[in-house]
């Protein structure tokens, strides 16, 4: 049983508060990714779950036990660090078995667990090597192996893939996912890479400036970002934002004076708004929002168009091929339920699309 309940956690370093009351309930077996920009407090929160940082206020409950004052070793958690932190004087076998030896587990059992983990991770032939004789990817695997053999209640990962090259990162990503599907161990995974978070996690928690901005399944966040921050953070290439002023209910005047028709009904009395459209949701048509093409980048399966709209740059992703050319004026339409509208402060969205709910509920 590995549930983690974070109750209104605060953390201060001296006079500076870096976590301002974070609450999060993680179910048994769930894979939760914490994402957010650098310095938002992801690692701090993770380290508090691990017991490596003390808690300024609030409670952390692991498997129905308040662990605020429980030493890291007594929390039955395993952690994989960004720099792996392998013990340099021990070979791979001893690195992986260290925690078990600490628990005075019988030797044969340690051996079978280490061998088993080594098989899962493809480390069998490296068991007698010292960490310095391993490549970065192999070290990463050993760090994972060290966590697996523990059979802990909870896995904690702090940006475990960020030191690998792009190709290896993608490969390890799917290995981690496969591992989780096999072991079904509750996992908290910190990353600043939203793709990693989206592809791995059952639930993504977006943090910003020491608070949780929004949490939900990857597609919920993609379909219904609750703020402009989340909208910009989730999705790649990122959502386009076009600023303007509401004129008469269904029209928005952009900065350069162009007026576009926004086919939604509840614009209300908001004076200034930001319209958000994901690049992949634009469609080319004969009439619609005008934009001037500046760059066309075909990749074969899709074409990315960069265009100017009211002096702002927008990115458009079109499936397949297109014949637009730089300099050309194109017209864009967006299905009404895929338009996001944020109010002046950029925080709460005043319009949420509905299509996603119907599809994914």
């Amino acid at each position: 049983m590995g549930t983690v309940d974070i109750r209104n956690i605060r953390k201060s370093y001296g006079n500076v508060e870096v976590l301002h009351g974070v609450s999060l309930h993680i179910r048994d077996g769930e894979f939760v990714a914490l994402v957010g920009p650098s310095g938002c407090g992801k690692s701090t929160l993770l380290r508090m779950i691990a017991g490596l940082e003390d808690i300024t206020a609030g409670d952390i409950v692991i498997s129905d036990r308040v662990v605020n004052h429980v030493a890291p070793k007594d929390r039955n958690i395993a952690m994989v660090f960004q720099n792996y932190a392998l013990y340099p004087h021990m070979n791979v076998r001893d690195n992986m078995g260290f925690a078990l030896r600490q628990r005075r587990m019988p030797k044969p059992e340690i051996e079978s667990r280490v061998d088993n983990a080594a098989r899962i991770l493809g480390l069998e032939r490296l068991l007698d090597r010292k960490p310095r004789a391993l490549s970065g990817g192999q070290r990463q695997r050993v760090a994972m192996g060290r966590a697996i053999v523990r059979e802990p209640n909870v896995f904690l990962f702090d940006e475990p893939l960020s030191n690998l090259d792009a190709k290896l990162r993608v490969q390890m990503r799917s290995e981690i996912k496969e591992l989780h599907q096999r072991l079904k161990t509750t996992t908290v995974y910190v990353t600043h890479d939203q793709i990693e978070a989206m592809t791995l996690a059952d639930r993504v928690v977006v943090m910003n400036g020491g608070v949780i901005e929004q949490q939900g399944s990857p597609l919920e966040l993609y379909d219904h970002p609750a703020s402009r921050f989340v909208a910009a953070f989730i999705g790649s290439p990122p959502m386009n934002f076009i600023e303007g002023t509401v004129v008469n209910g269904t029209h928005v005047r952009l900065e350069d004076g162009t007026t576009i028709h926004v086919p939604v009904t509840n614009l209300g009395g908001q004076a200034r708004v930001t319209i958000g459209v994901r690049p992949e949701h634009f469609e080319l048509s004969n009439a619609g929002w005008p934009a001037t093409v500046s760059v066309v980048e075909p990749t074969g399966s899709e074409t990315q168009i960069t265009a100017r709209m009211s002096g702002q740059i927008v990115r458009i992703l079109i499936r397949g091929r297109t014949f637009v050319r730089p300099g050309e004026v194109i017209h864009l339409t967006v299905p009404p339920d895929l338009i996001h509208i944020f109010d002046d402060s950029g925080t709460p969205s005043i319009h949420a699309i509905t299509r996603g709910i119907k599809q994914h509920a």
């Binding site: 890291p72 070793k73 960004q82 720099n83 932190a85 310095r132």
Partner: protein
């Protein structure tokens, strides 16, 4: 020279650089070794051969100086004393200094940095200013001319030295090593002894060697705080050097000097395999 270096292809200029480095290395080594060599040579000369001009490289060797001074200067007892004091103060300082250095490097203590600097600054006090007060304290406590007195006195400068060296070594280790160990079932102490200590061994041993050498050759405190029972070799050398009634006794000085150096060399050779081992590589991403 310049034209050769610039017009020569890259590889041969690299070889030239290599040669320059080797020659420089050999020259510096010879420069440092020559006085030692001359000392050892002189110690085996008869009195008449010492001041010949030009100096003699070939002569009938003798160990008469050794035999005489072993007895006269009580060298055997002093040698044992020096070993006891150097080993005692070296080990005490390494234990205390390492743990203090670790605490300063890792544990969040209010004012730890100030504290560390203060300890280091205490080394700025000239030893001569401390020697007399130390003697008075030792006399008060009835501790003059005892091994423990010298061991404690030496520790006053060795502990800050060890502490500061080991602190910077610990700072260079990733914190996650201990954190990982603590998650894996260790207490803070367990992580220190099972993970940090083995990794630090080469650094620890070289620090220990330097500390022992510092204690081995220390004169001032030994002169002030000991008399006969706990007196060390440097005191003997000072005694011989100071005894100039019949002119400087170079034979005796070089013989006792050689006796002082030999154990250090043997010790260094014994532990050198620890010194050349790699440090903490491979712990992290690398």
């Amino acid at each position: 020279m310049t034209t050769v270096a610039t017009s020569a292809p890259r590889r041969s200029s690299g070889q030239l650089g290599r040669r320059v480095r080797i020659v420089t290395g050999v020259a510096v080594t010879l420069l440092f070794l020559f006085p030692v060599f001359w000392m050892v040579l002189t110690s085996f000369k008869h009195q008449v051969d010492i001041f010949t001009s030009p100096p003699k490289f070939f002569f009938t060797p003798t160990i008469s100086t050794y035999v005489e001074y072993f007895r006269r200067a009580d060298i055997e007892r002093r040698l044992i004393n020096t070993v006891i004091v150097a080993a005692g103060s070296g080990l005490l300082s390494i234990v205390v200094g390492t743990m203090a250095g670790y605490a300063l490097a890792r544990i969040r203590i209010r004012g730890a940095a100030t504290f560390g600097v203060l300890i280091l600054l205490s080394r700025g006090v000239p030893p001569i200013a401390l020697a007399v007060p130390m003697f008075l304290v030792a006399r008060q406590l009835g501790l003059t001319d005892k091994h423990i007195t010298l061991i404690l006195a030496y520790s006053t400068f060795l502990i800050p030295y060890v502490m500061w060296l080991m602190r910077s070594f610990f700072l260079s280790l990733p914190r996650e090593l201990e954190e990982s160990a603590m998650i894996d079932g260790c207490s803070r102490y367990g992580a220190f002894f099972k993970i940090i200590m083995p990794i630090s061994l080469p650094g620890l041993i070289s620090t220990l060697i330097f500390s022992m050498i510092l204690a081995w050759e220390e004169l001032l405190f030994a002169l002030v705080l000991t008399n006969r029972v706990a007196s060390t070799i440097p005191v003997a050398i000072a005694g011989i050097a100071g005894d100039t009634i019949n002119g400087a006794n170079w034979g005796a000085l070089t013989a006792v000097g050689t006796i002082t150096v030999v154990p250090v060399v043997i010790f260094a050779l014994l532990v050198q395999k620890w010194l050349i081992q790699g440090l903490a590589d491979g712990a992290t991403k690398g």
